[in-house]
Amino acid sequence: MSSPNPTISHSVAAPGVRQLTFGQAINEAIAEEMRRDPLIFVVGEDVAEAGTPFKVLLGLVDEFGPERIIDSPISEAGIAGIGVGAAMTGMRPIVDIMFGDFTTLVMDQMVNQAAKIHYMSGGKLKVPMVLRTTMGASRRSAAQHSQSLHAWLSHVPGLKVAIPATPYDAKGLMKAAIRDENPVVIYEDKLSYPIKGPVPEEDYIIPLGVAEVKRTGEDITLVATSSMVYVALSAAEKLAEIGISAEVVDPRTTAPLDAETLIASAKKTSRVIVIDEGYQEYGVTGEMASVIADGAFYWLDAPVKRMGAMHVPIPFSPALEDRTIPTAEQVVEMAKMLCGRN
């Protein structure tokens, strides 16, 4: 097994570039876009003075005023619907849904309205809106505030879905989402907000549907999304120590999915683990694993393995919660097994 010096993508480490947190990157993306385009506005619960409970939007109301950073009642379905209507009539709303768990309340507006209006109208109407929400467990927030439900909206034709892992990607994907003519949903990992990384000051976008190889490797591919990218990178470090060279591929968007890049990496390494924080059953890992197992069938030396959240409501107790999310150690074990090293 070879272990070359890994290349780490510029979105993970780039010398001499300004460092921002993931949260600051989101804030900056929105602020820059709002300066550029007066039609963009934000609506959500406690988004204005409070800047959201995660403080990600802090300061925006000072610059753009309460007319463009709008505090709403606790009415998730309502604000999603209002976003759809505003988007259809010339505005570019960013709807803020505090916890991804509350997307349960916006499914009708997103799925039966936002996703279908362009198609149902024969291409006449469009819904250029962004729905920002969060994902991720491990905050001792229990079952109703810890889910990563991005598989659902990824399942629906007419929606695009981004799940940035790094501050760099967060800014670039958010800008792409805001400029897109379609409804785009962005899932931000709550624990990623304080993570720092290089974020260029200049305007850039990351096209929706383009994966990034976050680390190159030869022996095994770790396809990882959102915070699981860090888990995978850390597993790759540990694997390097024992001579297994892991490639880490971040799809960055689930819809559209950059199947080509995933399959190419699988063909190169011939072994794959797909890691995502959503529930494993009927989720994101199933799609990616079957796309890869199909596309790289004749190249694979081992079955494509999947690691998602344990199939339980996320428990509150730290003694239990920590068992539910894939860890670097588990990834290492699985990788060793696939590489015949146990």
Binding site: L39, F41, E67, S72, P73, S75, A77, G78, I79, A80, G81, I82, G83, V84, G85, A86, A87, M88, T89, G90, M91, P93, D108, Q109, N112, Q113, I117, H118, Y119, M120, S121, G122, G123, K124, L125, K126, P128, P157, G158, K160, E181, N182
Partner: protein, 324 residues
């Protein structure tokens, strides 16, 4: 009795034409269904014409409406053309949505129609969002949200009505209270009353006889003026009745409403007869009305023929328009 000024009867003749167009359209739709020429089902608007026409006559072309599963009347009243409507009902490329939407999804941005909606109450958010957009763009438009009494069961309406009131948005919620949601009488499904509900959410509310097009139009005009002035949202409660079944296939209705009730509404409360009677009382000659009806009937027949002969979209279109 003093003669009406000619301009007045002309206006009301136009209103009558609009209502008659809807009636003729729905009759033709029913025929298409019975003749197995229309795919799927349709929910006919017959009996409720005064609501759509009364409201839309008080709107400008660029004002917005959102519509429902029972939406043909709204679309036509807002200005849609009968030929492209039928084409849509038949799934043809010439339809308003290239055949992709069908009866329950007709949208036409050129007449401000943001689309019919097959989710009961599902357009309340869209109309309210359009009103927010109007306010932010300072465009001076108004958004009208049509929905049935059954939609009062959907929580979404109360969520957005509250925001409309808080933010003084130029939106009018028009409740088409036709006594039934599908096969169930409203008394089994709605407690309290609509006007008090509206008041509870800070909405101005007005009740009107939905069979009297002149009353509907007058009431709407006031609410539109209010909205344009920046005085905020309102509810217009229209009492009305659907003459047909819930949809074209709902033929045996006796288990949920009596033939007597139906007969009485049709005989006494037909919005077309009520306006026609008023027109003749006001010295419009019956012949003028007959002529108008004949013309509309001819147009509708021509439109049906157009739609029947129009081509389907190319099968390849199935994958287009998923994304803008």
């Amino acid at each position: 009795m003093a003669e009406n000024p000619p301009v007045d009867t002309e206006q009301w003749l136009h209103v009558y034409e609009q209502m008659y167009k809807i009636r003729a359209f729905e009759n033709a739709t029913n025929e298409l269904y019975l003749g197995a020429k229309m795919p799927g089902l349709a929910h006919l608007y017959s009996g409720e014409e005064a609501v759509a026409v009364g409201v839309c006559e008080a709107l400008n072309r660029d004002d917005y409406i959102t519509s429902t599963h029972r939406g043909h009347g709204h679309c036509l009243a807002k200005g849609a053309a009968v030929d492209r409507m039928f084409a849509e009902l038949l799934g043809k490329e010439a339809g308003y949505c290239r055949g992709k939407g069908g009866s329950m999804h007709i949208a036409d941005q050129e007449t401000g129609n943001l689309g019919a909606n097959a989710i009961v109450g599902g357009s309340a958010g869209i109309a309210t969002g359009a009103a927010l957009s109007i306010k932010m763009r300072k465009s001076g438009q108004v958004a009208v949200c049509f929905f049935g009494d059954g939609a009062l069961g959907q929580g979404l309406f109360y969520e957005v009505a509250n925001m409309a009131a808080l933010w003084k948005l130029p939106v009018i919620y028009v409740v088409e209270h036709n006594l039934y949601g599908e096969y169930t009488h409203h008394t089994e499904t709605a407690a309290g009353d609509v006007l008090t509900r509206a008041a509870g959410f800070g909405l101005h509310a007005v009740e009107v006889d939905g069979q009297d097009v002149k009353a509907v139009m007058a009431a709407t005009a006031e609410l539109v003026a209010r909205a344009r002035r920046g005085d905020g949202p309102s509810v217009l409660l229209c009492h009305t009745y659907r003459f047909h079944g819930h949809h074209v296939g709902d033929i045996n209705r006796a288990y949920y409403r009596s033939p007597e009730e139906e007969a009485e509404w049709k005989a006494e409360r037909d919005p077309l007869s009520l306006l026609a009677d008023w027109l003749t009382e006001n010295n419009v000659e019956q012949q003028v009305i007959d002529q108008l009806e004949a013309t509309v009937t001819g147009d509708v027949q021509a439109a049906v023929d157009f739609a029947l002969n129009a081509p389907y979209p190319s099968p390849d279109e199935v994958t287009s328009h998923v994304f803008a």
